[in-house]
């Protein structure tokens, strides 16, 4: 996995290096280093270090008698709680602009709680609603942070909540 990641960094680094180098507006002048200078320095160092890392990892792998794919368990990863957790967090980020803060917060708290094996689901659901109310009053009300309202019916719902806020 380490070698694959380093190889990815090298390929991405070379691609990005060429990309910024091909931009004529980023070129250096006599007294200005140009927009390409700094990223190219950084990318060069990153590429060199990634090569060093690959060489070191290959040496270590050879000594331990392993192969590049010996530590990768793709099927196991997709079945793991970790993967579901990652998906849950990603879904939260993606649905937030559409369904708004309040529904996504309640659903996420319940869903992730179930994933973490919460012993009592009804209690979890009640806790999720109460926590959402507290967080909503604190941030939307007291701190005046405009939390996402969502669109359509969710937006209307959010506007109703905002009207009944104590602050």
């Amino acid at each position: 996995m380490d070698i694959i990641f380093s190889a990815f960094l090298i390929i991405a680094g070379i691609g990005l290096f060429s990309m910024i180098g091909a931009d004529p507006s980023a070129a250096a002048s006599e007294t200005e280093l140009g927009a390409a200078f700094w990223p190219q320095i950084v990318l060069t160092i990153m590429i060199v270090l990634s090569v060093v890392n690959i060489v070191t990892a290959l040496k270590k792998m050879k000594a331990e008698g392993k192969t590049i794919t010996s530590e990768i368990d793709v099927a196991g990863f997709f079945k793991s709680k970790l993967f579901i957790g990652m998906i849950a967090v990603a879904v939260l980020a993606l649905v937030l602009p559409t369904i708004g803060f309040v529904p996504s917060c309640i659903l996420f708290l319940i869903g992730y709680g179930v994933l973490l094996k919460a012993p009592d689901i009804p209690k979890l659901a009640i806790a999720a609603v109460l926590i959402t109310i507290v967080i909503y009053i604190l941030f939307q009300g007291a701190l005046d942070i405009m939390l996402p309202r969502g669109t359509g019916v969710f937006r209307e719902l959010a506007l109703v909540f905002e009207r009944i806020l104590p602050f």
């Binding site: 990309m19 990318l43 270090l49 939260l92 996420f108 992730y112 926590i131 967080i135």
Partner: protein, 499 residues
């Protein structure tokens, strides 16, 4: 001088002003502890209250909010691994492991005492040598500021000495991420792939929250055993009656406290540097000078003390150029300056000469705030610490929700939440592959400062790179950095030769 102090304290101890300072401290600690509410945002939120006050009371009130918010940031950094303010990020390195061991109270105690000490040192420095310090800071041009930011980057070599190559790669990834968006000198779009969202660059706060908080929840999700022991809440640091550090224990960290406070004050004075760079720099220097550097990051007080003393030291430092020269050193100072300007106060070199009571009131309010803050923060921290005893099946998702709000509140943009999630997943990958998330953050924090100052210095020197490094301050700092960066590679060779 004595008259000035008397004036300051007489202003601050006027009943109404004192109440405002205590109120400002409470607001500051709470705001600072809220993920996504940075110190400058806390000051901005408190600004409407200041409009109704007399200018001298307003500045004392805003200073108390500012100092307390930096301290408040350490509370969530220790308890949930969510840095309340970016400058508290290094506090998570040792604070969170201590809280996990059930020493949350102790970690908070170290954090608060160090914060107060750092704040007091900075307050005294500001009151005693403000004009002189400002004059020195003025000598720092782009080449010197580049050297300071490069010094910050040299920290990379000591963040994880066991995986130096991977740590440096992580730092490079951070530096590259800082390049995304508009070029700081010419305004040319770089690596934006036509996206208008990327034009403003990669936001630091969502990345930081993702790397620290979301990654931690994902790690815990993957650790089935840890979740199963949630009935025993004390195993997760939920012991709210945890002991505070004793005087003797605090005394043992005295040199760390002094070093970090002085460093924080000096860094705070430099325009554009600020509390975040101060805390990272202090942590790194601690790792360099510590007798047991391998323990830093495993949950020892020195790491917390270094980070918190430095970021609070920077608060006083930031007031120096503001009061002496009328130059705000950072966002929070700029907001405070706005409050004064709106009220008709002419901020600048003449302020200290013609109206010394402003310097006096700022000093006295910082002094009082840093003492009141310890008591207030301890109370608030106890409430926060109780949350640790909540089962992880509830606490874990709540941390993600708070992190989401923290990321979103930066720009009221759900795109930043997506960025936080990506950072969280990358953070998990980093921890699995033994890369260093802190190094990535450091690169991201310092990248633009380093680049823009280097390029500015190059232009000022008419295209001479030698000219940049020939400046005495730059030469000394950069030489020290090169030694720090090269030493980890040379060290094994030296010991091999000796053997």
């Amino acid at each position: 001088m004595f008259d000035l102090l008397v004036t300051g304290f007489s202003i601050v101890f006027a009943p109404a002003t004192f109440l405002f300072i205590v109120g400002g401290t409470i607001i500051g600690v709470i705001f600072g502890a809220m993920p996504g509410v940075s110190a400058s945002m806390a000051v901005a939120l408190a600004l409407p209250f200041a409009y109704a006050m007399k200018p001298i009371v307003a500045i004392a009130f805003l200073v108390s909010v500012y100092c307390a918010s930096i301290t408040g940031g350490g509370i969530t950094a220790i308890l949930f691994k969510i840095p309340g303010t970016p400058s508290s990020a290094p506090t998570t390195f040792d604070g969170y492991p201590m809280a996990q061991r059930g020493e949350a109270g102790k970690a908070l105690g170290y954090s608060l005492v160090a914060s107060a000490f750092g704040g007091l040192v900075a307050a005294f420095a500001m009151a005693l040598i403000s004009p002189q310090l400002a004059a020195v800071a003025l000598k720092f041009g782009p080449s010197e500021l580049f050297a300071v930011s490069f010094l910050g980057l040299s920290v990379l070599s000591c963040l994880d000495s066991d995986n130096i190559v991977k740590t440096l790669i992580s730092g490079c990834i951070g530096l590259f991420l800082a390049c995304i968006g508009m070029d700081p000198m010419l305004g040319i779009a770089r690596f934006t792939f036509g996206s208008s969202t990327l034009l403003s660059g990669i936001e630091m706060i969502p990345v930081m929250i993702g790397l620290f908080a979301v990654t931690e929840v994902l790690k815990q999700t993957n650790k089935q055993k840890k979740i199963d022991i949630e009935k025993d809440s004390t195993a997760k640091g939920g012991d709210t009656s945890a002991k505070l550090p004793s005087i003797k224990e605090l005394w043992e960290t005295k040199w760390t406290m002094i070093r970090a406070s002085v460093l924080g004050t000096v860094v705070g004075i430099l325009p554009g540097a600020g509390a975040t760079i101060a805390s990272f720099l202090a942590y790194a220097i601690e790792k360099k000078v510590s007798k047991h550097p391998e323990l830093l990051g495993t949950g020892i007080p020195d790491g917390i003390v270094a980070s918190e003393a430095a970021n609070n030291g920077a608060t006083g430092g930031a007031m120096v150029p503001l009061l002496s020269l009328g130059i705000p050193g950072g966002n929070a100072a700029a907001i405070m300056m706005t409050a004064l300007v709106i009220q008709g106060v002419q901020v600048g070199p003449l302020l200290i000469k013609q109206q010394p009571e402003y310097l006096a009131s700022v000093f006295a309010s910082m002094f009082v705030t840093n003492i009141v803050m310890v008591i207030v923060s301890m109370g608030i921290a106890r409430v926060f610490a109780k949350i640790l005893s909540v089962p992880y099946s509830i606490l874990g998702p709540v941390i993600v929700i708070l992190a989401t709000i923290g990321a979103y509140a930066t720009n009221n943009n759900t795109g930043d939440v997506v960025l936080m999630v990506v950072a969280g997943i990358i953070g998990y990958l980093f921890s699995k592959l033994k890369y260093n998330s802190a190094a990535l953050v450091l690169g991201l924090v310092l990248g633009q400062m380093c680049e823009s100052n280097f390029r500015r210095a190059y232009t000022l020197m008419n295209g001479s790179i030698i000219g940049i490094f020939s400046k005495p301050i730059t030469f000394v700092i950069v030489s020290a950095c090169v030694i720090m960066l090269v030493y980890p590679f040379v060290k094994p060779l030296i010991s091999k030769k000796k053997a």
